[in-house]
Amino acid sequence: MINDRQQRPPLYLITGVMLGLLTGLILAGILWPARGADVSPASLEDTYKDQYRLMTALAFAASGDLGRAQARIALLQDGDPVRALTTQAQLALANSATQREARALAALASVMQEFAASQSGTAEVISTPREEDLNQFSTPFESGSESARYELQDQELVCDAVDTPPYLQLFVFDANANPQAGVQLSLGSQDGVAELSTGLHPEMSPGYAEFILTPRLVYSLSINGVEAMGGIQAAACETDAGEPAWGTWLLLFNEAE
């Protein structure tokens, strides 16, 4: 009898462990969880993330330190940081009381976008074209269908500044000829697709967007997902003073009525 009792498993020990585990889990998981210690900006509620993003943009506007701003924005772990900044800038732009914030957000988005573009595709851009590049370019042409929502109103090659990269500058207007912010633009080439948006340079115009073209690549432009232009190339030209320079393509689009 005594031997039987001694051979039984010590259930009270298992019960003790279970009781201890249960109490510990309630304490560490529910009553007093280990929050606080490791919360990063990525874990913040969306409204707080917006405020953190805004503060980053304002600090960038104050210091001009892009590396620091990029590191801070990266902490938020936005899928598309530039788009997050742009969207927030557009919301701020709609409120007359937050124009300063809108400008700061848009400026940071713009600089980050330009930085990304310069990293990925424009490493070979030189500020002065080579002799053999002069006048070796095609003129952009409309390639959209009749159902395209935006029509080319005007295009011009401006050749007045040396030591600048080859820019593509776009102005988009709605059907009432008002500049239109938030229009999604994409420029496709052999190197891939670059996404742009109007509204990142409110100091120019809410409907303005710009892109640095890589020499010898041919781009096609889509507006809100619909192809609009083809044959866009960096254009080397001569200034009035006869100096070689990269020209700037100016393209103006109107929303069809």
Binding site: G24, L25, A28, R35, V39, S43, Q51, Y52, L58, A59
Partner: protein, 128 residues
């Protein structure tokens, strides 16, 4: 007989303690923390200090102390009645310990000085 029971109670108590310690270690030490929708008051110390530095950078450019105080309210659980100087002092201490640059520490110190001399009868704006 009493000794046997006494040993059992002791063992029972020890197993409870063992289970408790294992659970606490798991809950606080091992379990990956996945906090979502957190409040800024829970930010880690270095992120808090960097946020204060952002406020100091902005203050260094615009010298609008009210705006800086409003921005620092972000770090407070309770936007009403917080003391912004506590955040800035904490950030300065962290900045010195963590080896921030002299320029950054100076920005933080300038902000602290501005807050100390700020007339508290003015209400702080709630947003940066």
């Amino acid at each position: 007989m009493n000794l046997i029971f006494s040993n059992r109670y002791t063992l029972f108590g020890l197993t409870i303690l063992l289970g408790f310690l294992a659970a606490v270690y798991y809950g606080w030490g091992l379990r990956p923390i996945t906090v979502r929708d957190a409040s800024p008051s829970l930010l880690r110390e270095d992120f808090r200090a960097d946020y204060v530095l952002m406020a100091a950078e902005v203050y260094g450019a615009d010298h609008e102390v009210e705006r800086a105080i409003g921005a620092l309210g972000f770090l407070s659980k309770n936007q009403e009645g917080y003391n912004p100087l506590v955040f800035v002092s904490g950030a300065i201490e962290f900045a010195i310990d963590a080896g921030y640059s002299a320029d950054d520490i100076e920005l933080l110190q300038d902000l602290a000085a501005a807050i100390q001399t700020f007339d508290p009868s003015f209400a702080a704006s709630p947003t940066p």
